[in-house]
Symmetry: C2
Subunit: 214 residues, 2 copies
């Protein structure tokens, strides 16, 4: 069970709240960008960053937020996947279908083997197959990379699915169409770097992305 | 020109920073979900929410964050659109192509005509055509809606496009494929509410979504 602390307890839309870790992993598996929220001199700042995760931690590329990541500062990391629009009979009942995870904690900056491990996990989440295909980080490149880890212990998951709620209310008599409009997000066709020698073909693991859901 | 304050000045990846308001509007037009960052008792919290915007303000559906939106509290609202993966010869040069806007300010809760206006702008951004098609909010529904507005005066825009950077470096000799893998995000086919009378057809403005970029 995911922890229930005052801030992860679901105050609104309780029907959407989930407490099974499998739901958390599923949301993190579906997303590619996390929004990292920190306080900088008391002012909120939210930066987008790529991430990866294992059973225990989420790994973030920290350079985008490096100036704000003083040791011991709290963070909230949110991953949201938009699945579709909920089109109701009334504007009031309109909404979105989405999956969202919020993770609270104090990010830790990783070093050495832990950093290399986290970077591999992150790379394999964002671009599966590339860790083994591309040149791996040198010692100097590793030193120039900031990698953060946040435990998955204090997390809140919300998943909203299905049609609008007003199908059995008085607005059903309006005779308006209602339903869902799904988002279809897939990987496109790889675009070669113009500087690439023409003889280098797209490797199989990248060609296989095309048409797959993101 | 967008303002340049200490926190919106681009400290990293200067080449990606933009200061033309047209870029800000373009990013906001391309996104559907904003991540609203606030401090709750000094702890960062980042919540996803739908939004709309006009030339001067971004409008947010505030109920998801209502407990944290005490009057006068500062916020950071970030909208990010993932456009693709940047696949380089080295893991170190991997990245993403994206468009991102960060807006800082103190959200104002809207009432009466301003709230109705903001809600229309928001609805027409998220689901164009639905404000005129669906039943508009009653007085009671309006009272139950929290709508926030944030001025667009203090904003930071970053746009990253193009191929990886290592095509003219030593790694080019590795003979590895490199390039971009674009994200293709479109609206799918409308799914009728199971409670819908079979005789109600999908209206033209919704049928026209299918296949269009999000």
């Amino acid at each position: 069970m995911l922890s229930s602390t005052p801030r992860t307890r679901h105050r609104r839309m309780k029907a959407n709240g989930r407490s099974d870790p499998a739901d958390l992993y599923a949301v993190l598996a579906a997303g590619r960008i996390a929004h990292l929220g920190v306080s900088v001199d008391g002012h909120p700042m939210v930066v987008p960053t790529v991430y990866g995760f294992d059973q225990e931690r989420i790994f973030l590329h920290g350079s985008v937020a490096s100036r704000s990541l003083t040791t011991g500062a709290e963070a909230c990391v949110t991953v949201t996947v938009l699945d579709g629009l909920v089109l109701a009979r009334s504007v009031f009942e309109h909404g979105i279908n989405y999956r969202s995870a919020m993770i609270y904690g104090v990010p830790e900056s990783l070093e050495d083997e832990a950093k290399l491990y986290g970077l591999r996990v992150l790379t394999e989440h964002v671009a599966p197959g590339q860790w083994d295909y591309a040149r791996k980080p040198s010692r100097k490149e590793l030193a120039a990379t900031t990698l953060l880890a946040l435990p998955l212990t204090e997390a809140s998951v919300k998943i909203s699915t299905g049609p609008p709620d007003d199908g059995d209310g008085p607005d059903a008599a309006l005779g308006l169409w209602a339903g869902e409009l799904p988002v279809v997000a897939t990987w496109g066709v790889p675009v070669p770097d113009p500087q690439l020698a023409g003889s280098i073909a797209v490797p199989a693991h990248l060609a296989a992305y095309t048409g797959r859901p993101i």
